[in-house]
């Protein structure tokens, strides 16, 4: 066998034996390291996958949503806006939307109620998300009593329940006809919650938005690009969730790497002294420490990343679910479509493996270049 490979194998044998001699210390080191990589990689997978889901969902979103503000708060949009906005050059369609929130006093959940023109949804028959069905223990064909805003009961029958895989869109949704919606919320005629506007040329969107504001100063247009930007900023590294996990994980890693970098234990110095006195070269000692750092960091990185992938994409990230759940009664049980960003995995590698390996080699280089006799006497 090639002499160089044999030398590396011999040193690796010695490294593994040396690591196993201090099982407790190195085992706990590996566990902490693995946990840090696991948390950072889980977060990265989770956020990247959610960003992808958000952009996939926003593909179908309207080009422009027009809301109306009254004293700074969102108000209903009069039907007259539809005709006026339709006449703006470049606008292809203006669709009024009716939607709102229904608070269920039975379980304290908030539902999102939308008007749908789906043929399965007829007066008295609604389609619900899997989260609603779970919260109220519903099945297709069940009757659900809702209480309207003028205190009259509105009995609706469950026509269909959306599959679990749609939870990320529809977990808390109730789709009903416009007639039922008006009965439930005592909604005034000739008004809509907001308007979905389609524009022929996406480049004209800011101009159309400006024209809408000029026409109705109380209107508030929201561009599709702004919706996308909202989701990019929610899952940005500066975002609350990301920053919280990132800061704690990075801080613990810095403390941990600092501890390694600031010096060797007396036992390790003595070991280096003995190795040098029995004829090991400085380069051999450095190689030994490099292998030691590599064994720990590479194992932690590879296992941490693979476990994080399983945690996020097979187990649906139960660690983050608790943080997002808050006081919500309905929580979606979604399975994210896996996304792996090679660039971010490379960044994670250079943020964890490289500094740690360097941190183990530098103090050893200092110890290995001193006199063996002096190293053994410390």
């Amino acid at each position: 066998m090639n002499r160089s490979i044999e030398r590396h194998l011999n040193i690796l044998d010695f490294t593994l034996a040396s690591l196993l001699r201090r099982k407790g210390k190195n085992g706990s080191l590996l566990a902490v390291y693995l946990l840090v990589v696991f948390l950072l990689a889980s977060l990265q997978f989770y956020v990247t996958a959610l960003k992808r889901e958000a952009s996939a969902i926003l593909d179908d979103a309207p080009d422009l949503v027009v809301q109306r503000l009254m004293a700074g708060r969102q108000d209903l949009v009069p039907a007259a806006f539809v005709g006026e906005i339709s006449r703006i050059r470049g606008v292809t369609r203006v669709k009024p939307r009716w939607w709102g929130y229904y608070y269920d006093s039975v379980n304290g959940a908030n539902y999102t109620v939308l008007v749908s023109d789906d043929p399965a949804v007829t007066p008295g028959r609604v389609a619900v998300g899997a989260g609603v069905a779970r919260a109220r223990n519903l099945a297709v064909g069940d009757l659900v009593p809702l209480v309207s805003y003028d205190k009259k009961p509105l009995m609706v029958e469950i026509a269909s329940i959306f599959p679990h895989r749609s939870d990320l869109v529809a977990a808390d949704m109730i789709l009903m006809t416009a007639q039922d919606f008006h009965l439930l919320f005592n909604f005034p005629d000739g008004q809509a919650t907001d308007l979905a506007v389609s524009v022929r040329n996406p480049k004209e969107l800011p101009t159309v938005a400006a024209k809408i504001v000029a026409l109705h100063p109380d209107a508030r247009p929201i561009l599709k690009s702004e919706m996308l930007r909202t989701y990019q900023s929610i899952f940005d590294w500066r975002g609350g969730m990301t920053l919280m996990v990132l800061a704690s994980a990075l801080l613990s890693f810095i403390i941990f790497a600092w501890d390694r970098a600031t010096g060797l234990s007396a036992e390790e110095r003595r070991e280096i002294g003995i190795l040098k006195s029995i004829g090991w070269e400085t380069s051999d000692v450095l190689l030994l420490k490099l292998w030691e750092g590599t064994v720990i960091s590479l194992t932690a990185y590879l296992l941490g990343t693979v476990l994080a992938y399983g945690h996020v994409f097979f187990l649906s990230a139960p660690l983050f679910a608790q943080a997002l759940k808050g006081w919500s009664v309905i929580y979606p049980r979604f399975q994210l479509v896996p996304v792996v960003d090679i660039y971010q995995l490379a960044v994670l590698f250079f943020l964890t493996v490289v500094p740690y390996t360097t941190a183990t080699v530098v103090p050893c280089w200092r110890a290995a270049t001193t006199d063996p006799d002096a190293a053994m006497r410390i």
Partner: protein, 94 residues
């Protein structure tokens, strides 16, 4: 078998698993089912991640001061408000 060879075999297996992740992700993306037509027709603007407050359920449509609208001097009090950033409108009214 030498310890070093055992370790290298372990690293090779882990590396193979690691390299399989992007392949698995690509396969899943190709075979991911689209949302039902009825949901796509709704033209939804937000993910159903957090349902406790309207501004965390629909962050894309909420305004920046929605968390503080309950009454004058109201403080934001939903736990998810600390995790979900406010929307990012540039130039438009909040």
């Amino acid at each position: 078998m030498r310890r070093s060879v055992q370790f290298l075999l372990f690293i090779c297996t882990s590396m193979a698993l690691f390299l399989a992740l992007p392949l698995h992700a690509q396969y899943e993306q190709r075979h991911a089912q689209k949302e039902p037509e009825v949901l796509r027709n709704l033209q939804v603007t937000d993910l159903c991640l957090v349902t406790e407050a309207r501004y965390t359920r629909h962050p894309a449509l909420a305004d920046r001061h929605a968390p503080f609208q309950e009454h004058p001097l109201a403080l934001e009090h939903f736990p998810s408000g600390s995790l979900i950033m406010p929307n990012n409108f540039q130039g438009a009214a909040p």
